[in-house]
């Protein structure tokens, strides 16, 4: 099936809604650390793999005396007016600071989950963007399959027998035996019934297969992109074109900026993952983005491009490119030569691997002579544990970190088979733009229609919800709320800014399987 047909089918199935999903690969859960008024909270939302489905939400009140927590998913298209009332999150017995609840996510797309906390310290609210999409199809377990097959066989045999009995004996007066004519007709009726049952089962099977095939076709896939590097104009230039008909048809909402950039793109050299860059391509037109590459060593690179739509839907687009050796010319990909592109001052890169092997305490030497350290217990898949890094200056004293692209730090987490990629901030695993665009949607609300019109961005306006502003708090440590989704080996690039310089620390992590069964192994 062509990409166009695939996306048309997806659109039809979603009632002309755009299928949306989290801006990560292989890690759909959302993590949030921030403030809800006077309360500091840590939120984890485990999204369902199918939509409509139930998401599990846990809210841990880290600071403040909270009595009650409510949760409410607000769908991007209908806003607060078109959303159901809030549900209480129940306190977990034995842990008065932990509250759990469920979110009913009935349509694929982006939700802002409003979390209201009340207690002795007053009332406060926080918004956490969550995206929902069908990502997998549950397999039927063998015992259930056998049970259903047995019940189905019983029903089929029973039906044929009832038809026979109805024809043979149904009209026979009490005490009389059915005559041979009735018996013969019953046999014919049973044969006919058996044929009808076989036909119904065959038809049912075909129907089921059709539903299943349509479902699999509509599973979320990121937009298809084509990327290449052109070195003719001197410095190699990376061009990323969104080639997917779902995008070029114009049915999706436009892109919006995340920390002032339309695209955050990471490059990782394969297979050693020993070169890394975080760059910000600029749009050339509505489908093409271009950026001058930093001086990276030649080789094959995985690119991972984060974008956010105005609907709040964030996704990561991925491809593989060949970066030539400095000075090497590449074959032209299109008639118009790539124009020289100015380098974004926020573009950064790092060449080299991890300084220390996986362990309880790992350190990495940064370019300016300072050190970044990561102390952690054994890592277990599915276990919610913040990744906490501390930075020490060359003088051995705690370093003072500065904001880098609107945040105290960024972390890129990549599994060794590229099946998991997450771009983390201290506030969590979601795109800030998702939250901002949904907040603007409320201000620009034009009714509970099928579409929405966000209010224009107003940088001067105070956000409607109080939120954690990490940049305002000088610190030498940085924490990223996260849980590794699967066991395996991961590489983590942590980026912080000190004394005007962006510094990248590289770490390797070995994540084990949860002995209780959490986390999915390969």
């Amino acid at each position: 099936m062509s990409p166009r047909a695939r996306h048309l089918a997806a659109l039809a199935a979603a009632g002309a809604a755009v299928v949306a999903f989290s801006g990560h690969i292989g890690s759909p859960n959302t993590f949030f650390d921030g403030d809800a008024g006077p309360y500091r909270i840590h939120v984890v939302v485990q999204v369902p793999p199918v939509v409509p489905g139930l998401a599990e939400i846990t809210v841990r009140v880290l600071a403040g005396r909270a009595d009650a927590v409510t949760v409410r998913p607000i769908f991007w298209r209908t806003g607060e007016r078109g959303s159901p009332p809030a549900d209480p999150a129940r306190p977990v017995p034995g842990d008065p600071r932990l509250f759990t609840g469920q979110l009913w996510l009935m349509e694929a797309g982006t939700y802002n989950v409003r979390i209201d906390v009340r207690g002795a310290d007053g009332a406060g609210a926080a918004l956490v963007p969550v995206t929902a999409a069908a990502t997998r199809r549950l397999a039927m377990q063998a015992p259930l399959g056998w049970l259903l097959a047995a019940l189905g066989a019983f029903l089929a045999v029973g039906l044929v027998w009832i038809v026979g009995a109805a024809v043979r004996e149904g009209g026979v007066p009490a005490g009389e035996a059915p005559d041979p004519r009735r018996r013969a007709r019953a046999r014919v009726a049973m044969l006919a019934a058996a044929g009808a049952v076989a036909l119904a089962l065959t038809g049912g099977r075909a129907w089921w297969n059709r539903v299943d095939a349509a479902y699999r076709r509509n599973l979320y896939r990121p937009l298809a992109v084509r990327a290449h590097v052109d070195a003719r104009a001197g410095a190699p230039t990376l061009t990323v074109a969104i080639a997917d008909s779902a995008w070029t048809s114009g049915r999706m909402t436009p892109l919006t900026t995340e920390h002032g950039k339309l695209m955050h793109l990471f490059l990782v050299r394969l297979p050693a993952r020993d070169a890394f860059a975080h760059v910000h391509p600029e749009p050339v037109d509505s489908t093409t983005f271009r950026v001058r590459l930093p001086p990276l060593p030649a080789g094959r690179y995985r690119i991972l491009a984060d974008i956010v739509h105005e609907s709040g839907f964030a996704e990561t687009l991925t491809d593989i490119v060949e970066v030539p050796a400095p000075g090497a010319a590449t074959a032209p990909h299109d008639a118009a030569a790539a124009p020289p592109t100015a380098t974004d001052p926020d573009d950064t890169w790092h060449v080299g691997g991890a300084d220390s092997p996986p362990g309880a305490l790992q350190t990495a030497r940064l370019e300016d002579g300072s050190t970044i350290a990561w102390r952690h217990p054994p890592l277990v898949a599915g276990r919610d544990a913040a990744l906490r890094f501390t930075v020490t200056g060359p003088d051995g004293r705690p370093a003072t970190l500065e904001p880098y692209i609107g945040m105290l730090g960024h972390a890129a987490v990549l599994r060794d088979d590229d099946s998991v990629f997450v771009h983390l901030h201290p506030m969590g695993s979601f795109a800030m733009a998702s939250r901002e665009t949904l907040q603007r949607r409320e201000r620009g609300d034009t009714g509970t229609g099928r579409w929405f019109r966000p209010a224009p961005a107003d940088p001067g306006a105070a956000p409607p919800m109080a939120h954690h502003a990490p940049a305002a708090r000088p610190a030498s440590a940085i924490e990223f709320p996260f849980a590794f989704p699967r066991p395996g080996d991961y590489r983590i690039w942590v980026q912080v800014k000190r004394a005007g310089h962006v510094l990248t620390g590289v770490f390797d992590a070995h994540v084990g399987a949860d002995p209780r069964g959490g986390g999915r192994a390969d």
Binding site: P52, G53, F75, M106, L151, A174
Partner: protein
């Protein structure tokens, strides 16, 4: 009808008795059949109003009660007849794997098993493909088959009682048979809901679907029950049952618990006003009485089927105009109720018909097909009714 319910230990089939008494197992399965259709009506209203579903919501519990009462009462009948019944009792029943039970009872038991089978199947389906993405899915079809089987089993048991009844039992038995038909008609109308929307009432598809669904039950009732007004009684049960839902459900305040919400809802959303099947049903009764006894059923089917469709079209078409008018926007006709998920941009929200036929020729072709469906549905109903008139066990 003056009838009591016979105690559990009473004989299973009817025999001449001085006072009309409904056999307890017939009462039980008719109660079950009623529970199931009431539960489904409630369930649909729940999905249109509240949206949020759970295994134990009261509408579901009503359906489970129906399924369990049908299965357990018929199971008890079979066990009692097999292990404690007299040879005379067993001689009135049908044998299956060493057990003796009434034909309707075996059908009800099959229905209960089908309902039970659908539960784990549907649960897996929700986990695999999402919560109730489709109304008509394979597990829901298994559930619907189970429900239909319970209702059909109840009908067969009521008719077997009628066909064996003499004296005082005859009239209550015939009335309960018509009631069982009416419940099936309610269920059939529910299953055709997506074709019977108000905004489709000026399209041929609406009349095609009505011609397929209604005549089969009315004709079967004409043939199988001993009442003077069988089709009218069956249609009256459907009309009254639907009216009760239309009038009672909105009395209960409720608000949506799922999004996206496109309607401002303050109470339970009822089903649409009943279709005017009652009018052609009266005509069918009058006509059937005058039918020459030896006339071919194919000719009967042509006459009855076309009369049904003609009268139904003549009354429903202008009535649809009335339902779309401001005069019907009141609690009696209840046309101001829309499910929470219906966008306000839809034609039905603005009381406009949806033109489902591309042109006049397509509409006339559709009506021609409706006439054919009405005849075939009536013919099937007459044959089915003839078989049921003869059911004894």
């Amino acid at each position: 009808m003056e009838a009591t319910v016979r105690p559990l230990g009473a004989p299973l089939a009817a025999e001449a008795s001085p006072a009309a008494a409904v056999p307890w197992h017939v009462a039980a399965v008719l109660f079950a059949s009623t529970c199931v259709v009431a539960g489904i009506t409630w369930d649909i209203s729940w999905h249109s109003t509240i949206g949020r579903d759970s295994f134990w919501n009261p509408a579901h519990v009503t359906e489970y009660v129906g399924g369990l009462v049908a299965g357990l009462s018929c199971g008890w009948v079979a066990l009692r007849a097999t292990f404690a019944g007299t040879p005379a009792d067993r001689a009135r029943l049908i044998r299956f794997w060493g057990f003796h039970g009434p034909l309707g009872g075996w059908i009800c038991i099959w229905g209960t098993f089908a309902m039970l089978t659908s539960a784990p199947f549907d649960n897996w389906w929700h986990n695999a493909y999402g919560l109730d993405v489709q109304i008509l899915s394979p597990p829901h079809t298994v559930l619907a088959l189970g429900i239909l089987a319970i209702q059909f089993g109840a009908l067969v048991m009521a008719l077997a009682w009628q066909n064996n009844a003499t004296g005082h039992d005859a009239r209550p038995a015939a009335l309960l048979s018509a009631y069982a038909f009416g419940i099936m008609l309610l269920m059939a109308a529910i299953m055709g809901t997506e074709h019977f929307f108000r905004s489709f009432m000026h399209s041929s598809d609406f009349y095609r679907s009505a011609a397929l669904v209604f005549p089969v039950f009315l004709a079967a009732a004409l043939r199988s029950t001993t009442l003077r007004w069988p089709a009218t009684t069956v249609a009256a049960v459907y009309t009254l049952g639907r009216l009760l839902a239309v009038w009672i459900l909105p009395l209960f305040p409720a608000t949506p618990r799922l999004g996206p919400i496109y309607q401002d809802i303050t109470h339970m959303v009822p089903p649409d006003f009943p279709l005017l099947v009652l009018v052609p049903a009266i005509a069918l009764d009058l006509l059937f009485r005058r039918t020459p006894p030896r006339r071919s059923d194919w000719i009967n089917a042509v006459v009855l089927g076309l009369v049904f469709l003609g009268i139904f079209l003549a009354v429903q078409w202008p009535f649809a105009d009335f339902l779309m008018s401001p005069s019907a926007r009141n609690r009696f006709f209840a046309t101001t109720n829309f499910p929470y998920f219906l966008p306000k941009t839809t034609r039905s929200y603005h009381y406009l018909f949806v033109a489902r036929d591309p042109d006049r020729a397509a509409f006339l072709r559709g009506l021609g097909l409706a006439a054919l469906f009405a005849v075939l549905s009536t013919r099937l109903g007459l044959a089915w009714g003839a078989w049921m008139r003869a059911v004894r066990r």
